[in-house]
């Protein structure tokens, strides 16, 4: 017992050091670069970021932000709130005015009405309003599609269940151009779905270039994420509680509503939150499957950066980030109020292939839907890669082989892209998983302002990829001048660090909710018996959060492999190209070469996910 305090101190010191390393990495790879970009939103023209501290009175301006807030283009009807806070916005005013003119004609000419009513024209969403709207629709659809998937994955046993669970991360790595190719081939006018409908003499559907297809494509990316996160929580539902509820006379439905659902809600909302944030910042999918009429805020961010209008870009970036972080913060406040406890006593799975029952029929329906939405576009893309003007062809794969053997040093080689992607992915995991775990553990400690720290830890998801990319270019690739020397950071190690910083929030968000709801008594019991904090973490908590870690790991890997913006910037002039970069390079008059590379990406990542899950489960058992 006398040696214990020393070990405890060493342990705390270790945690502190690890915390500092993580904080340093976040500052160099994220906060500093992003700050250099966003600072422009508050700076008068001609002032540098340092002036914010040295000469704030002259340097700081709110005009940029206010200009965006008060612009009908960005904020629609709501812009009057910022332009002139005391007047009623647009249509609401006009409408009231018309009604009153008929009902109380004498009233409208009197003073308060003349002052307060604003003639902004029609009520419109504005870019921000529309972006929030489409993100909400995408979130709702992703949850609606994801939940039945989680139910099947968590409650049934069937051959290939684990493989399917592993493959839920696959859509995440698909570059937008590949999803677009797959979606056009599946849902387009000449697509597989319409061919099928025509064969059945049913009316065809035409949903390309609409809000519906954008929302559907977002669900393609995010519904599997919702399913995976929720299934992970479902697997740690304490079945003993369900059993006791049943033994007390509760029906299946009541037991689900009062025992299971409360334990799932945090996970469902985690999935919903991530979906909202990703869809809110969506850019490529919107422009490829919808068109510029459906532009999101991020489209204007990208456009501003392209024109090097940094003040406007920074202003948009600040508002985007504020909104994403506010939603995240609201969620975290909710999460911390949850008091469910969980343990590794999941209820037994039902075998899927047995006699007919209603829930098995439902599973069949869900499977059919999943085949259309998820398998359809992927298989269509595979077919596209082996189809030429004269039918079946392997020339696209021959092209990849030829590039592998004959490419010049300044050209992209497919195999190098594959190995780079895998190396960066594995390197990213080695950093992101411990980072995520550390922050998850720290965030479940009770201290004031914890949720603010928590929300900030989510910032890599909340900040636009364009802003991060620009910051990395300015802050790291161009470098910083100190003492007459220019310090620059680029190359593979920087790419790995950037990927880790970009993906560790996945680990945090998958682990923290489970960790937060762990049965505290278990840990305390272990520690009162002499186990150190680390020992308790390893023996008690880790096995319980394993499914969360695994889900977080898979998606962190997926994010690394699919990452494009930071990778191309940090690999500038180098050989650090990855599979998505290769796909981009192979886009030409024909889709074939790029889709063939897309299929390579699919196969490589699918195998990786299965391997990650199998290895992870090995850890879980051992």
């Amino acid at each position: 017992m006398t040696r214990l305090p020393v070990r405890w101190r060493a342990e705390h010191a270790l945690q502190a050091v690890a915390g500092l390393v993580v904080a340093g990495l976040l500052v160099v790879m994220f906060y500093y670069p992003v700050a250099t970009v966003l600072a422009d939103a508050f700076l008068q023209q001609g002032y540098g970021p340092l002036a914010l501290v040295l000469d704030p009175l002259h340097a700081i301006t709110t005009e940029v932000i206010h200009g965006i807030l008060a612009s009908p283009f960005f904020f629609g009807a709501a812009h009057t709130l910022f332009e002139d806070p005391v007047v009623v916005p647009g249509d609401v005013a006009t409408y009231t005015w018309t009604v009153l003119q008929t009902a109380r004609p004498t009233l409208v000419d009197r003073l308060p009405f003349v002052v307060f009513v604003h003639d902004a024209g029609h009520v419109s969403f504005g870019l921000f309003g529309f972006t929030v709207y489409q993100a909400l629709l995408s979130t709702i659809l992703s949850v609606i599609i994801g939940l039945p998937g989680a139910w099947v994955l968590a409650r049934f046993e069937f051959p290939g269940r684990k493989t399917i669970r592993s493959l839920t991360a696959v859509p995440f790595v698909m570059p937008s151009i590949m999803v677009a190719v797959g979606f056009i081939a599946m849902f387009g006018q000449q697509g597989t779905l319409n061919d099928g409908l025509r064969a059945l003499h049913l009316p065809t559907i035409n949903i390309l270039y609409s809000l519906e297809i954008i929302v559907l494509a977002h669900a393609f990316y995010d519904a599997p994420l919702v399913a995976r996160v929720t299934a992970a929580a479902w697997e740690t539902v304490d079945s003993r509680m369900v059993e006791s509820a049943r033994s007390l006379g509760a029906s299946d439905r009541t037991a689900f509503k009062h025992v299971v659902l409360p334990q799932l809600t945090p996970a469902i909302l985690t999935g919903a939150l991530l979906t909202f944030v990703f869809s809110f910042l969506s850019f490529a999918i919107v422009l490829t499957l919808g068109g510029l009429e459906y532009a999101t805020v991020e489209v204007w961010m990208y456009q501003s950066v392209r024109e090097l209008k940094f003040q406007q870009a920074a202003g948009i970036g600040v508002l985007e980030t504020t909104l994403s972080l506010a939603v995240t913060y609201a969620y975290l406040r909710y999460e911390s109020k949850q008091t469910t406890t969980r343990a590794a006593h999941p209820p037994a799975r039902k075998r899927l292939f047995e006699r007919f029952s209603l829930d098995r029929l439902a599973v069949a329906g869900i499977a059919l839907f999943a085949i259309i939405l998820f398998v359809g576009p992927v298989v269509s893309m595979l077919l596209e890669s082996v189809t030429g003007p004269q039918g079946f062809t392997l020339r696209n794969y021959a092209f990849l082989l030829q590039r592998q053997t004959e490419a010049y040093s300044f050209q992209v080689k497919p195999l190098t892209a594959v190995t780079n992607s895998l190396l960066f992915g594995v390197g990213c995991l080695l950093l992101a998983v411990p980072m995520g775990l550390l922050i998850a553990v720290l965030s479940t400690r009770g201290f004031r302002g914890r949720k603010v720290i928590d929300a900030l830890a989510m910032a890599p998801f909340a900040v636009s990829g364009v802003v991060v990319g620009l910051g990395l270019l300015r802050g790291l690739v161009f470098g910083v001048t100190l003492f007459g020397y220019r310090f620059t950071v680029s190359g593979p190690v920087a790419i790995v660090a950037a990927h880790a910083v970009g993906s560790y929030p996945f680990v945090v968000r998958n682990v923290a909710p489970i960790l937060g709801s762990l049965d505290r008594q278990l840990v305390e019991a272990a520690r009162s018996l002499g186990a150190t904090r680390t020992r308790a973490l390893y023996d008690i908590e880790l096995p319980l959060v394993a499914s969360g870690i695994l889900a977080g790991t898979a998606f962190a890997f997926a994010l690394s492999v699919g990452e494009f913006d930071s990778t191309v910037i940090l690999a500038t002039g180098g050989q650090g190209y990855t599979m998505p970069v290769a796909i981009e390079r192979f886009i030409g008059r024909r889709l074939g070469p790029a889709t063939a590379m897309g299929c390579v990406l699919l196969v490589v990542t699918a195998v990786s996910f299965v391997v990650i899950d199998r290895v992870g489960e090995g850890f879980q058992r051992g």
């Binding site: 969403f125 151009i177 510029l292 007459g484 620059t488 950071v489 190690v493 650090g576 390079r585 886009i587």
Partner: protein, 385 residues
């Protein structure tokens, strides 16, 4: 981590000199031995330190766009490198940063050295963008072309820079590419005028790459401004919108949707049939449509970076690029038109690259001070929610 210390070119305190530079690079060495995945960190040395130590051929660093060196079909990059190196005592290195021109403009804005010698693939609007972005000085410098071997054969109408910083080296035409088979099925002829595109028979039939994001789309937008004027183009685009024109992310996504039969008409290039012929696709699916018998001239220029330490070699390269034999070879490999009148092209190539009766295009002065405003007003009209 790939940290590298690089001495600033304009650093005056030479006393720090070589030993400190060495210390910086040795620090890099240390990090390289500790991390095994070290790769692409490059150490640019200063002019002063290279002149004393350089032996053998000089290296010319040329920046260009991706498909010029690494297209899935054909690209002239490799041939140019080999031929140039075989004729000159120099090494040619390609450098392809992702953000192209903006990469260099941002370096200049941040006070970082450019370290590159020649820019290949500069359009008039690129040059306008560069000049209006930088408040002082230019990214490029004028080149005296009077000594160039083939300069007398350069077609004068291709020159677009009044200061002769950018010299044209390649051209093509923006046009419609039409899937006539699809139109035949609908019993509709190919559109011939801008007005045709607003007619009900072409509702939902046209795909255009987003001008904000694509040079092709941007020049198509310019073309409509030439037709309808600054005061009329937004109204014309309103009618196009009402006719369900699709404005998609990039040339790549627009052409992909067109190839998949989502629409019979796409805004692209008049060289399209060369590719169709290569892949054995029927030419009926790749008809070229010149609206109002015009084609918008897409001109690519080359320019020497201001402050390059190899001005003569850079000029030699530009001279080389205009030679008749190089012009025809680059044209065929880049699937574009030459800019000199004495370049010979294979007959079938010439047959497949269509030219309009009336080439049109804005010059530097037309565009200066206008592009950003035109694009902004247009974008806000299209994306109005």
């Amino acid at each position: 981590m790939g940290v590298c210390m690089e001495r600033r070119r304009f650093l005056k305190s030479a006393g720090l000199g070589a030993s400190a530079l060495l210390a910086g690079c040795s620090a890099e060495d240390v990090s390289e031995t500790t991390t095994t995945t070290e790769g692409s960190t490059t150490t640019e040395t200063t002019q002063g330190t290279t002149t004393g130590t350089t032996e053998g051929p000089q290296t010319l660093l040329v920046t260009t766009y991706q498909s010029f060196v690494d297209a899935p079909s054909t690209s002239p990059g490799a041939w140019l490198k080999e031929t140039f190196e075989s004729e000159y005592d120099a090494t040619l290195e390609w450098f392809v940063p992702n953000n192209q021109l903006n990469y260099f403009l941002q370096r200049k804005q941040q006070g970082v050295t450019i370290d590159t010698d020649v820019y290949l693939g500069l359009t008039p609007e690129n040059l306008v963008h560069a000049d209006s972005t930088l408040s002082s000085g230019s990214l490029f410098e004028s080149v005296d072309t009077s000594g160039f071997e083939n300069i007398s054969h350069l077609k004068e109408n291709f020159r677009f820079d009044p200061q002769d910083r950018a010299i044209p080296f390649g051209a093509s035409f923006i046009s419609l590419v039409i899937n006539q088979d699809m139109l035949d099925e609908q019993g509709v002829p190919a559109p011939e005028t801008f007005e045709d595109l607003t007619k009900p028979e072409y509702k939902g039939s046209i795909i255009c790459p987003n001008p904000q994001n694509s040079e092709t789309g941007l020049e198509f937008l310019f073309w409509t401004i030439m037709q309808y004027g600054e005061d009329g183009y937004l109204d014309y685009w309103k009618r196009l919108q009402e006719n369900d024109i699709r404005i998609l992310k990039s040339w790549g996504s627009a052409y992909a949707a067109y190839s998949n039969g989502e629409a019979p008409i796409v805004v692209s290039y008049s060289t399209d049939q060369v590719f169709a012929d290569q892949y054995g696709e029927p030419l009926s699916k790749h008809q070229i449509g010149f609206l109002n018998n015009q084609g918008y001239q897409y001109i690519e220029g080359m320019a020497r970076f201001a402050g390059t330490d190899k001005p003569d070699l850079a000029a030699d390269f530009m001279d080389f690029m205009l030679r008749a034999d190089v012009q025809s070879e680059v044209a065929v490999r880049n699937v574009a038109n030459p800019v000199v009148d004495n370049a010979e092209l294979p007959a079938d190539f010439e047959e497949l690259t269509k030219e309009p009766e009336e080439p049109v295009g804005y010059g530097y002065e037309d565009l200066m001070g206008n592009v950003s405003g035109w694009l902004d007003a247009w974008g806000k009209q299209i994306a109005q929610q």
